[in-house]
């Protein structure tokens, strides 16, 4: 998963990387020049005659002009910087009419991701993963009804805050397929550190296939153990916080688990998504993400394996 500001994989990140290059190198030169001037000022050989009053006045005059020149130089450089920043900023604000609409809602300490559609019945709701088609702009609407978060995908674009009571937005036009790491960048409470949003950029065809897979209802339990697991899920504490479309469980307090097994991580980045970690997570969530709102469901070992069997089937 790449996540470096200077390894841009989208137009927006590329625009920002240009600003970085445009500001970093001149700054480096200015810094070295300053150090050189300082070193020269400290170690220059001082002829004895320097103290003569006439010479002192001449020096002061020369340095006065140099000060004026230096100030003009700084002002010019800063104006250039500001201009470069303004131009690239306009590239970030550009919007294409046919952009893909995605809505990301910040929760305490996970991400709800929705793909709205003009036909509401084709709308997709998932959690803790974001898929984007390469080459097409995606307008990500950001909202939160709890605290301020900030969605930041370094390889694709700068961060935007999710602020209760306001709707903010950012646009991303990925240019390279691959897996990128998104995360929360505004301190939002106990588990701000484990609020990762794995981003997958794929070809439009693969993206459409993924979206259709997400529209499908949850896969029915395949094994008797999974069937028991589904029963435990619906009748036990799980259904009070999680939703699996196609079952009675419809709560959004916790992430939607309809296609849990196809997601890269558990607990928004707290654990990799495989059987062992799913078992460990259900046995004691606080051990892996202390402070999470997921309680210890206090399932017996048998129930634990059944529920894990069921959840693993939810491709």
């Amino acid at each position: 998963m790449t996540h470096h500001v200077l390894a841009p994989a989208a137009d927006q990140a590329e625009a920002i990387a240009t600003v970085w290059q445009g500001l970093f190198w001149p700054n480096l030169v200015i810094y070295l020049a300053m150090l050189a001037a300082l070193a020269w000022a400290l170690w220059r050989r001082r002829p004895a005659a320097d103290e003569a009053p006439g010479l002192r006045a001449k020096h002061t005059h020369h340095w006065g002009l140099a000060l004026l020149g230096w100030t003009v130089f700084i002002a010019a450089t800063l104006t250039a910087y500001t201009a470069l920043s303004f131009v690239q900023d306009r590239r970030l604000l550009a919007r294409e009419p046919d952009a893909l609409r995605v809505r990301v809602t910040g929760e305490q300490w996970w991400w709800q991701v929705e793909y709205p559609d003009s036909d509401p019945s084709r709308q997709v709701t998932t959690a803790n993963e974001l898929h984007l088609p390469v080459g097409r702009m995606a307008r990500i609407e950001l909202q939160s009804d709890n605290v301020i978060h900030s969605l930041w995908i370094p390889a694709l674009n700068g961060k935007q805050d999710l602020i209760p009571g306001r709707r903010t937005e950012m646009a991303v036009t990925p240019r390279a397929t691959g897996h990128y790491r998104g995360e929360c960048a505004e301190f939002c409470g106990l588990q701000h550190a484990h609020m990762v949003l794995p981003v997958t950029v794929e070809s439009p065809a693969a993206f459409a296939a993924w979206l259709d897979a997400q529209r499908a209802q949850a896969a029915p339990p395949a094994s008797p153990s999974a069937t028991r697991g589904k029963q435990v899920f619906e009748s036990g504490p799980c259904a009070l916080c999680h939703a699996i479309s196609g079952t009675d469980a419809g709560s959004h307090a916790g992430p939607d688990l309809t296609h849990l097994a196809s997601r890269p991580t558990l607990g928004a980045g707290a654990l990799p998504n495989d059987r062992a970690h799913l078992l460990a997570w259900l046995a004691d969530p606080q051990a892996h993400k202390p402070g999470t709102n997921m309680p210890d469901p206090k399932l017996s070992p048998a129930q634990l394996t059944d529920v894990v069997a069921y959840l693993e089937g939810l491709r």
């Binding site: 990140a13 970085w20 300053m34 000022a41 800063l78 500001t82 370094p154 202390p290």
Partner: protein, 624 residues
């Protein structure tokens, strides 16, 4: 050297001395005793906050570390930030002002000396309160910026954030007190002859800082009262539901927040100017340009706070305006750096430890300044805001820009404070240790920020390539700790066995070196007359003005522009009542955290204490 006879000094000693014992210690209004206390307390809080930083760095040394849990870590970074900003950086700079300003302008005492004592007690009690709260697992948990709604009572249970926001009130009351004293002293208590164009840069820096404090601190006090009112009474300042707005907190906070970092930085400019002037044995080049630069930084710093909120979805055109404003403030800094280098070029630099720390300032602060200019660009800020790049920037600017000049200032003014010189050999080791430590700690953080590591995370997963940078940072932080310990050791050793300093060990030009080290309670037996920007470097020996009584606490007030003597002013006597007023206000601040009736009942003891404090002294009007 000047003509001082023994019996006048003996009489002065009797009139200017404090009562003995604890009562005297509590009741002193001598700006030097209060100033020393300020410095010691500020350095104590610096050490405590430093230890918090060590705990944070140890937790982040390796990925997935379980040394510290998320809640404890939230308190660590919240208190580290709050203590450094509110309890160390601003107070230590104002403390240097409290101690040195009267001496530099040739005054016998600071104006409003009792207010000075009151300010210190408030600062001390506020600091104690927040650290006691932290010890009781009730430290701040929402960062030093404490954004709402995380800081609202829905998401920050209990009294933690209330205590934090009340601590802000404590420290801001203290800062406002010193600001008032500095401005008053600057205007009317200057030595005769010290016209506006003969005032040292350090004093100008303190004046600009004082005015900035007066305009910035009220903004955060209002914000913290709004927050407490939202949390306790259910008002809706920050509740978007009923028409409030979380961004109102950010605006109010950062309108104070950015000037705050310049309030920390500008006194450091003053110290650098004094050190560069003394150790290049030449008056500062472009004195007027330097003063104008400082004043323009003071004004500009109030016009660019929104660069902390570029990711909050504010209108793009507004953000671009703030990019320009933020870039603009780099110009005065550039001018100042140029003038210092010019002074060094024109002078004959002497590599004592204070100058070494100033050179450290050049190396570190300019990196911070330049990364600051990069942060000013909106697009770039959206990538690096709230990441470790910003952590690196703020530490380079604050440690490079304020702590290095401060420690240089300690090495420079320690002889004046204590009469003994700090060890030069230890000083040089101290400098290199600190310089290496700071760079090892914070330079890798630039890369960490670009590599995607967000701020304020109590741990991070392995396999992202962040391991080496974090380990290096942790190692660096231990080196910094070593450097600080070395500094403390040097101070302790020098207090006990340091070389005697005499009046002017560095052959410095300013007035504070015209009196003994440490100066007597009344600073100057006779009032010095100033004819030049660098009084002690003029060919003519310093002139002295006799005529102030020595059997009564008296000082000379001069006119604002020309500093012509005007009035002999009776200074207030030491009094215990500022201390009791501070206790009463502390009682009120703490009481109102738990019960709003505190505003009513606790104002009674405060009214009594303050009435007695301000009770007019029976002094006959000064005749001539």
């Amino acid at each position: 050297m000047s003509a001082r006879n023994a019996d006048v000094e003996a009489q002065l000693a009797r009139t200017w001395s404090d009562p003995p014992g604890l009562l005297g210690w509590l009741a002193t209004t001598d700006h030097k005793r209060v100033g020393r206390r300020y410095l010691v307390t500020a350095m104590a809080f610096f050490a405590l906050a430093g230890m918090l930083a060590l705990a944070m760095r140890t937790q982040l040394a390796v990925p997935g570390n379980t040394l510290v849990g998320p809640d404890r870590y939230s308190q660590l970074f919240s208190l580290h930030g709050s203590a450094m900003m509110f309890l160390f950086a601003v107070p230590v700079m104002t403390a240097m002002g409290v101690y040195l300003l009267p001496l530099m302008i040739g005054a016998r005492a600071i104006s409003f000396p009792r207010l000075n004592a009151f300010g210190y007690w408030m600062y001390l009690l506020g600091g104690i309160m927040i650290f006691v709260a932290f010890a009781l697992d009730a430290g701040p948990e929402t960062g030093w910026t404490s954004y709402v709604p995380l800081a609202s009572s829905d998401f920050s249970a209990g009294k933690r954030t209330d205590i934090w926001s009340q601590m802000v009130n404590f420290t801001e009351v203290a800062a406002l007190c010193v600001a008032a004293e500095v401005v008053a002293s600057f205007m009317v208590t200057r030595a005769p002859g010290m016209r506006l164009d003969r005032i040292p840069l350090f004093v100008w820096a303190q004046l600009v800082t004082a005015f900035m404090v007066m305009f910035a601190m009220p903004s955060v006090m209002v914000a913290s009262q709004f927050l407490q009112s939202d949390r306790q009474f259910g008002t809706h300042f920050f509740n978007p539901g009923e028409g409030g707005d979380p961004l109102l907190w950010q605006h109010l906070f950062w309108f104070f927040g950015h000037p705050e970092v310049y309030i920390i930085f500008i006194p450091a400019l003053g110290m650098i100017s004094s050190i560069v002037q003394t150790f290049s044995r030449r008056p500062i080049f472009g004195h007027t340009a330097m003063v104008l630069a400082m004043v323009s930084i003071g004004f500009l710093s109030f016009g660019l706070w929104v660069h902390h909120m570029f990711a909050a979805g504010l209108p793009p055109l507004g953000n671009s305006f703030y990019t320009a404003a933020s870039m603009l403030i780099a110009i005065p800094s550039g001018v100042q750096i140029f003038c210092w280098i010019a002074t060094l070029w024109l002078g004959r630099p002497r590599f004592a430890t204070p100058l070494l720390f100033v050179l450290g300032f050049f190396a570190l602060f300019v990196i911070g300044g330049l990364s600051g200019v990069m942060l000013a660009s909106v697009p770039l800020d959206t990538q690096v805001h709230d990441t470790y790049f910003v952590v690196a920037h703020l530490h380079y600017v604050l440690i490079g820009g304020a702590v290095f000049p401060l420690i240089g200032g300690f090495y420079y003014w320690f002889p004046k404070f204590t009469g003994r010189l700090l060890s030069e050999r230890a000083g040089k080791v101290n400098f290199w240790l600190l310089f290496v430590g700071v760079n090892l700690t914070f330079f890798p953080m630039h890369w960490l920020g670009l590599a995607g590591m967000p701020r304020r995370v109590y741990t991070y997963p392995a396999g992202l390539g962040w391991e080496w940078a974090n380990l290096a940072a942790t190692a660096g932080s231990y080196i910094v700790a070593g450097a600080v310990l070395l500094f403390v050791g040097n101070v302790a050793w020098s207090l006990w066995r340091g070389k005697a300093a005499g009046d002017n060990p560095w052959d410095a030009p300013d007035l504070e070196w015209a009196t003994s080290s440490p100066p007597p309670p009344w600073n100057f037996t006779q009032v010095p007359v100033v004819e030049d920007l660098t009084p002690l470097w003029t060919a003519k020996p310093l002139q002295w003005l006799r005529g102030l009584k020595s059997d009564k606490r008296e000082m000379l007030l001069t006119s604002i522009a020309e500093a012509r003597p005007q009035v002999r002013w009776g200074c207030p006597d030491p009094s215990i009542w500022p201390f009791f007023s501070a206790l009463a206000l502390t009682l009120q601040f703490i009481w109102t955290i738990f019960d709003p009736w505190g505003w009513v009942w606790a104002s009674i003891p405060m009214a009594i204490a303050m009435t007695i404090w301000f009770w007019p002294k029976k002094s006959e009007p000064s005749s001539d």
